[in-house]
Each structure stands twice: as structure tokens, then as C-alpha cells.
Symmetry: D3
Subunit: 237 residues, 6 copies
């Protein structure tokens, strides 16, 4: 009754596959909603939360020196220190692969603060330790260099690009072994509901295919197959 | 006596390494026979079968909509539905990394039909489920987006490019952790026989090297080393 | 007392993380010391040794034929056959991804000779067997084709580029899951000592962060935090 | 009266800009209709004609030898020898930049046969001579190597990808300094008509902007500006 | 006396070469100040002005439709409509090469408003018309597609990356056939003064080299050469 | 009688096209002899000379500072100062596009010393001035940054890679609008002679094609066409 609607969406979203959500967005005309080149730091990781964005631009040697981290207002540090439970830190690293964007101590802090995970179209450092933390991190890989080598942190909570996709704070972010999809906040409730329905149907169809049913009539389902599915659902299948 | 020659080749081919086959083709002047950027979806997978090709071209938004899959003549679906036991579905995806080329339900159907595996120079979706199927799949990685996002399926059984290599239906396809090699059908019997002989010799040489023999005289083998190998083979080594 | 200073550095270097070493070099103005696109063949591998370089240039079809390996002076073979215990074979492969740079038999020989490992900005073949050897190998991935397909071995012990970084024989090479860093020989002792101190401090800070300390004041540490750390060290913490 | 409708479309198409045609396709939901990385061999060239496609796949050293050109059925030669006046030879070269796809003698023959031009997402050779011919050629640049180095010609008049866009024989191909757009045959008449109207309006708006009008109200035009434009058209402006 | 210091810097900056300015920044530790992949739309163009930044992120199909341009607050249009005389519009297009970032009508408006030029690490459309305008435009090339295809304009006057370099509004932007350099505002006066001195010296040295002087002692100049230069300057050379 | 044979080859080589030379090497099994991504700084430039190689590796911030140029033994300066008339300076820049490899003062000195030209798979600075010199320079484009930003000059007269091709000092280097081909020294005389013959034949065939002859029988030439060509040559055509 007095359930938090955002929480309900997140709970449902945790159960759907990224592939199916991407297809539901495709059906609405959002053909490019999934990131390119971004995957789980550890296979099997799953990610679900609301985006909080951090933007990097190219570093400049006189500005990006180790001393900047002593400033608590440094945007990277501030983003970590202000993240809310259930949020995903999404970092726009311009796909750069010459330095990391985050290390294990910040990842630890994110976990302590209840963050749902991290997405970057750049790299991370201390990869082995981050994997050990269990925090879902989706990235292009690992690199030992501090972010100051290539990145100048500049903004929080502005629209960014990540993996070729627009991300705004508040968008729903889902990740699994296929990668990361961005669901615009305004569509999240409906897309997740549709995806949940499609995932259930596809589980039924996959079982039928595994049992030997041919593709025609089964995948995509004919009216007869849909009817059989509905009867099974009614029977509690 | 009445053994199926093609089956004999496949049986032998299962035992050879992709690296050695690539070297035998190199010796015949086929210097570029192994794909670039294509690897096993799960390390340790091995693939052996005869190619059946599927060709994708770039998608067009008005043609590539979800409804096309209802047509049983859609080339992607038809390729899956007509594959024969022992065949490998080889998909030309132009190396594109912005969408998948196949998902777990089609992979399941391929397995039911007895396919030997899948090769694509694109991506797959439902990666976790495909890994669970055990079907050997060699690709550039995973992506959640339906193939309609980037790919328009157009032809079956025509010569294609995959991972930078020409593939014709009927070519012998072998894959392991090093990647995928394409053996032209006309050379398959001889190349596999040579590779089997080379693999046996190299196993012997590797043992010698592991025991402390220096490279000169051992790898590549001198006449003396070859003679020693022959004696060991004769002794049943 | 009569300890070998180089050995002492290597022993210390084994304990530090690649990320921290990279940061220490950054602090000295060497902003680009870590390779790009080079990672462990098997996650979890750690590498520590002194570079011995091998340089490849593009292959030429008339020069790079299988017969060249019968020449014990062939630079690739000579590099392997002259490597000293504790050295790392660092191969400049121009980042090429169309052929391998080394296979399992040479890797076996390197292990027998006591090499500390291998680094290449190209690929390796017989990946599964190399992983089984346990030799630390850092590369861009695997490919089945012999190096002759793309590479002409030309020089040993000259300055090379690898993963975008200058490497000279004698430089200290460290690798872990984050990648590979190159420490100029002249700076190795000081950088390793600094990194050891930093790693110890960061282990303390990471524990504090995991216990709930906020970033400001902890990471980077305030004078108070540093004082607390010093007291803990004095107590034997 | 008895005008050839296709000819009428081509005549109109010659007058429109590629940018405007691309926008009209965008307005119909075809967001990706213009090739990437393909430009005029000589700045200022304009191209207008109907596509005739030629498909290349990767070369294989035993198949792609100089002798193949003696076969009049070789697809590249056949494509040139069967092209009709007003057609554009569109070659799918997979964006490969390691060899040419056409040289000056074939370009000369295309000109003699009345071809409207050539498009390739690969390279051409004899660039200086082709420029002198005046035949509109759009490509990624020049390279001296024969197509046999990288390309195996395989099909004519099948759907292909070129510069990332689907091209079918019969599609309308337009090129200018901005690049090449592909208009699906079924939409050509309407899109060209719309583009002609838009180009005329934009010429008017550009004049207004050059005279000092601000963007708001002028570009895009407000109802008042459109009304002013209509009056000018009525006056014969 | 009452000269505008900023204007003085710009006047001097117009006379220096981009290469020399880049070297002066290198001497101050700013090793990466020049953009990569960005060149003049027309060879010979020269650019000098103060940056005004515009930031694009990836487009989203539901947001980026033709109708958005009717909003005078659309950031791309607003950037153009608020540019001041002597400013350079610098657009962060993430190096994307699948759509344009600006067309000829906006370029015309920029010229009318007195803009010094345009820099983008993306593409422009209506290239032929923009070249005819004479406005200095530096970019990666031309593409016919509207920016809505790939770009969502989002911010004005924030720090951006362009061609791999950090750009802030107010930075000095210089362009010539070698490319574009970004001079941080705080260093502009000194760097330009130094560059002017270096350019004068190098003109003298180039003359000496052209007359047959060897590199040693001349370039870089020995104390004797510098003394000779000083004497020539004193003589009014 | 007492003609210098090397000079004779160079004189003949000046008259042949790069495309034809590439084809003659292809016919000898050297399928990859032409560089990729390297073109004339000014369209229409032609290059012919013998290679003198210079090798760059990645820069290191502590080594590559402006002061190094005061050392007359610096390899870049030494290469320029020791080049012989008729030699082409070929620089291996690893295809890097983040800095230049040569500027106008060194290019001037090369011209004074009689160099035949310059080839680099990197960039040049002072492009406008170099174009004005008339020295044939083939490169990937222009960039304002000093070579010290990205390059550490290390060796002269060693085998290098340039544009993906092996180059040794003494190889014949030819360049025109199609790009640059490397002719191994040992094959130069024969390849140039063959190319000269082929170019003459093709000029005849091109004329026939321009006059309306079809490809079959003409290109490649049938025995009848070859006979007609021989008769024309005998007549002095």
C-alpha cells in the first residue's frame, strides 16, 4: 500500500535480464540503450541501481597532481562521499584506456555507504582487491595508473556519456554478463514491468525449445504457443 | 573400409591444436587463416565442425524491427533451423561491437539440432546462459542488444568474412583457447594429417625441453632429434 | 651485509602493488610508466624481474619462413636461450593482434632457464599450455598464428616500446592484475622503497575506510591520521 | 508527359545536398543513412545515381592470384563490364585500409560505359589518374596494392554494407563534400522532393541569417518566417 | 597605456605558430596541449581567439528529434546566439565520427556575430559552404548527418575535452595547418610572449640552415649563434 | 658504360608508378610491401630514393626534454646530419598520432644535404612551411607537438617498421599519391625493370580502354592484344 514505488521498481529490476530490458527499449524506439565495451569486472556480477554521474575530462599536468585529493571538494572524492544507498556511480571516462578511474579504497568507501555499484567506460585499479570486495563494478578492464594521469574530475550529477550511451542521474542502471543498459527514469516502471513479463515468457519458450520444439511457432511464439503459455501460467506454472 | 572420410577427418581434427593447424596452413602459403579478435566464450572450449555461413549487413531502421522474426524465412532463423549435425554456424558480423548476433534460445535450438558450435566476429547476448549450455561459442564478447539493432541478416551459405578470414560453407572450423582457424575444404584432409603428426612430435619435443634440452637441436629438431623421436615412436612411446 | 643490492630490490618489489609503484613514478614526473592493453594471461599472476628486450618489426614474406628457426642465431630463439634467471623477456610487438609472439615450447624453455616471466604487447599461442606452466605471462591475449606471420625478430637488448612505454634491458618490470609497470633502472631502489611504505600506509587506511571512516581526513590521510598510523606502527601494528 | 519517372527523380536529386537528404531520412526514422569514413577523392565532386553492388570478402592467398583476372566472370570485372549508364558501383570492402579496390583502368572503363560514379568503403589505386578522369569516386583514400592483397570479389547485386550503411542495388546514391547518403529505392521519390523543398527554404533562411537575422524565429523558421518565405516564392524569389 | 591587455595578447598570438606555442607549453610541463585528429577544414586557415565551450553527450532517440531546435534555449543554438566577438566555439563531440556537429547556417550566424572560429573533435556538414564562408573551422572532417543523430547538446561554458585536451572557456585557442593548441588562460600572456621570441629566433636559424649551416651549433643555437642573432636584431635584422 | 648501376635503377624507378611496383612485388610473393596510412603531405608529390632508417620508441618524461637537442649525437639530429644525397629518411614512429616526428628546420637541412625525401608513419609539424620547401614528405598528417612529447629517438640504420612494412637502410622507397612502397634492395633492379615494362603496357591498354575496348581480352591483355602492343612498340608507338 504505502510501498515506495522506486523501491518496487528496483526490486523487480533485480530479477530481469539486461538483454530483455534492452529489447523492451528497442521496441519503444530507443535502439541504442546498452553500453559498448563495458563489462563486469568479475563474470557473474549483477548490478541494479539508480545512476549518480561523475564526469571526467582530459587531465592537464599543472592541475592534476597528487595534492588535489586533499581537497574534500574534489569532484571524484565528493561523488563517493555523497553517494546514497542504492545509487550506482557512473563515470564518463571518454572510453580512455590509459589510466584508471577508481581504486580499491574508494570502492571500499562506496560499499560502506551502501552504493549499488560502479560503472565506468574507463578502467579501474587494484582490480584484485575490488573483485574481493564483491561490489558490482562494470568497466573496460584494469590499469595501474592513477586517474590523474588522464582524467580531470569536473562535475557531479550532470548528463554524461558512458559506453556511448547518455546517462542522467536517476536513470535506472542494470548490469549482468551481457553488459550495462541505461533505462531513462521516465520509462523505468513500464520497461521493467514489460521485461519481467517477457523474461517469464522466454523462460517458458526456452524450455519448449530445449525439449525439441522448432523455432517457427515457438520463438517468437505463435498465438497457439501464447495460449499454451497462458494456460500454464493459470495452472501456476 | 567404408568409413565416412569426412567423419574421419573430423575425428582426427578434434585431437589437433589450432596453433599447429595454423602453422601447417602457413607452410602451404596460407599465411592468414586464423581469425583476429575471436575467442571462446568460456576458456577451455574446443570447437570442431564444418562451416555453415550466415551473413549480416548493417541494419536499416525500417526493415529491422521485432516483427521480422515471425517470418520463418528470416535468414538468421532459417540458418538455425536448417543446420545439420556437426556443422558450425559462422556469422559475418563485420566485427561490429554494438549489438549481439545470437541469444541463448537460438543457441539452445542449435544444440538440440546437433550443431558443433557457433563462430561470430560479433557479440552474443544471454552470455551466462549460453555458457551454461556447453555449446562451443567463439565470439568477440557479449552485448545485451538484439541483433536487429545493428545487423540485417541477408544470406546463408555464401562466402563470408569472419574475423578477417574468408569462410565458405564446408570449410573445416577448429577453435580452442588460441582462437579459430579456417581450413579450406580442399586441404582439410592433408592439413589435419600433417597437424596430427606435428602435434605428436611437438609433444615429444616439449617433454625434452621441459627436461632441460636447449632449443638448438631440439626445437626445431635436428636430424638427430628426429631420429631419436622416430626410435621412441617405434618403441611405442 | 654482503647482500646483493639488486636482489634486495627484487625481494622488496615482489611485495608491492603495481598501482602503487605507478603512483610513485607519477610523483616523480613519470606520468606514463604503465603499459596499456597488456594484462596477465591468467588472473592472479604476479610478475617481478629485470627486463631483457626483444624487438620485432613487420614480417616480410621472403624472409620470415619456417626454416629460419633452424638458425640458432635467430633473435627470438637467441633471446630465449640467453635469458638469465630473474629476467623478464619483454617483446615489442607493435601492439599487433594478427599473430602470436611466443608459444608454449619457448615458454617452457624460459621456465627451465629461470626466467621471471614474459611481457609482450602482442599475443601468445598455446595459451592453455602456457597457463598450465605457471610462468607469469602478460600479453594482449592469444592467437594461433606463428610469429612469422606478422613479426620479424631483429634485435636483443635494445630499447623498445611495449604497451606504449619505453623499456630498456635492466629496467624493473612488475605485473599484477592491474597490468605492467616499467621502473627505470636508475630509480628502482628508491621507487620500490617508497612504494613499500605507501602500500603499508594504504593497508592501514583501507582498514579504516572499511571500518567506516570517511574519505576526508583518511584518504589522503590528514596529519592526525598519519600520526595515528605512526603510533600503530610503533606498537607493531 | 512521357517522362521516365526514375529519370525525373535523378534529375531532381542532382540538385539537392546530401546533408538535406540525410535530414529528410532522419525525419522518417532512418537515423543512420549516411556512410562513415567515405569522402570524395577530389573535393567538390558530386555523385548521383542508382546503386549496383559488388561484394568483397577477405582474400585467401591460394585463390587470389593475378591470374584470376583472366576470367571474364571474375565478379569485379563482371561488375564493371555490366554496369549500366547512370549506375554507381558500390563496393563493400569491409572498411579495410590495407589494399585498393579499384584502379584507373577499371575506372576508365566505368566512365566509358556511362557509370555515374564509384563508392567504396575501401581505397583506390592510381588515385592521380582517377582524379584526372573526372569520374566521381568516393572512398576512404588511396593505396597502391592490388585488391587481391586483401579482397576476394564474390557477389554482384546482393545487399551489402558500405561505410556502415545497408546498400541494395537500385538504391539512390548521392555524394558531395559531406559524404555519401543511401536512399532506399522505395523512398527515393518522396525524399528527393522533400529535400528539394527544404534546400530552397534553407537557401532563403541562410540569406536571412547572413543579413543579420538571429537564429530564434529564423532557423528553424517561425510561422512568420515561413509566411515571408512563401510570399517571396510567390513573387518569384 | 589604456590598451586592453587581452586584445594585446590576441594580437600577438595571431603572429605565432601553433608548433612554437606547443613547445613553450612543453617547456612548462604541459606536454599534452595540442589536439589530436583535429585540423583545418581548408588548408591554410589560421585561428586565434578565446574558447567558449559547448558539450555534447550521446543522443537518445526520444530526446533528440528535429523539433528540439524550435527551443531557443537548446544549448547548441544558445551557444551560437550568445557567442561574443573574438570567441571560438569549441565543441566536445567525443571524437565521434558518425554525425556532424554544426552546419553552414549556424556557421554563417557565428560569422555574423564576430566569432573567431570553430573547433570540434567531431565533424561538420555543408562543408563546401562553410569553406566558402571563410570562417576558420577546425574539425575531424565532414559528415552529412544532423548532430541529433549522435549528439545531445547539454552544456555551455563548462570544462570539456576536445581532441584529447582539456578546454575551459577563456582559454586561448590557436590553430593552423599543424592543428589546434589550447593555452590555459593563466599562462596565455607569458606563453605568447615567449613564442613570439622563439618564432623570431627560429626564422633566423631557418635562414642560416637554408644557407647551409649544419645543425650542430645552429639548431639548437650555440652561444655564438645566439650572439650573432642578437647582433642582427640590434642591427634591425 | 661506366654508369652507376644504383643510379640507373633510381633513374628508372622515378618513372614507374607505386601501384605497378606493388603489383610486381605481389607477383613475387611479397603481398604486403606498401605502407598503410602514409600519404604525401602535398598531393602530387613523388618520392624516389634509398632508405636511411631512424627508430623512435615511446618517450620517457625524464629523458626526453628540450635540452637533449644540444647533443649532436642525438639520433634524430645525427640522422639528418649524416644523410647522403639521394637517401630517404624513413622514421618508425609506431603509427603514433599524438606528436610530430620532424619540423621544417630539419626538413630544410635535409633538403640542403640533398636528401630525396622523408617518410614517417607519424606526423610532421610546420606542415605549411615543409610544403613550401618542395621536399617530398610522406606521413600520416600534421601535429604541432615536438617529437619529444611522444618519441625517444634511439637508433639509426637498423631495420624498422613503417606503416606496417619492414624497411632496411638501402631498400628502394617510392612514393606517389597512392602511398609508399618498399622494394627490398636485393629485388630492386628486377622489380623496377618489370614495373617499367608493365607501366608501358598499361598505358597502351588504358588508351584502348578509353577508346572503348571491353575489359575481356584487353585488361588483362589476351595474346592478340599483347601481339598488337608489340607491333605498336616496334612501330615506335
Amino acid at each position: 500500500m504505502d510501498m515506495n514505488p522506486a523501491q518496487t521498481i528496483l526490486d523487480r529490476a533485480r530479477a530481469v535480464t539486461v538483454a530483455t530490458v534492452t529489447t523492451r527499449l528497442f521496441a519503444r524506439g530507443i535502439r541504442h540503450s546498452a553500453m559498448t565495451g563495458v563489462g563486469p569486472l568479475l563474470p557473474g556480477m549483477r548490478l541494479c541501481g539508480l545512476a549518480k554521474t561523475l564526469r571526467y575530462v582530459p587531465a592537464r599536468e599543472d592541475l592534476d597532481v597528487l595534492e588535489v585529493f586533499h581537497d574534500p571538494e574534489h569532484p571524484q572524492r565528493k561523488a563517493v562521499e555523497t553517494i546514497l544507498p542504492g545509487q550506482v556511480l557512473v563515470m564518463d571516462a571518454r572510453g580512455d584506456s590509459s589510466a584508471a578511474t577508481l581504486g580499491s579504497i574508494l570502492a571500499t568507501r562506496l560499499g560502506v555507504r551502501g552504493a549499488a555499484g560502479v560503472v565506468t567506460d574507463g578502467l579501474v585499479r587494484d582490480a584484485q582487491r575490488i573483485r574481493a570486495l564483491g561490489l558490482p563494478v562494470f568497466c573496460r578492464g584494469a590499469h595501474p595508473a592513477t586517474n590523474l594521469t588522464a582524467h580531470h574530475a569536473v562535475d557531479i550529477d550532470v548528463p554524461v556519456g558512458c559506453g556511448g550511451v547518455l546517462v542522467m542521474s536517476g536513470d535506472l542502471i542494470l548490469g549482468d554478463d551481457d553488459g550495462v543498459v541505461v533505462v531513462p527514469a521516465s520509462m523505468a516502471a513500464e520497461v521493467v514491468a514489460e521485461a519481467q513479463a517477457q523474461d517469464r515468457l522466454e523462460a517458458y519458450l526456452a524450455r519448449r525449445i530445449a525439449e525439441g520444439a522448432p523455432l517457427p511457432g515457438t520463438y517468437p511464439p505463435s498465438p497457439q504457443t501464447l495460449e499454451a503459455y497462458r494456460r500454464e501460467v493459470e495452472r501456476g506454472g
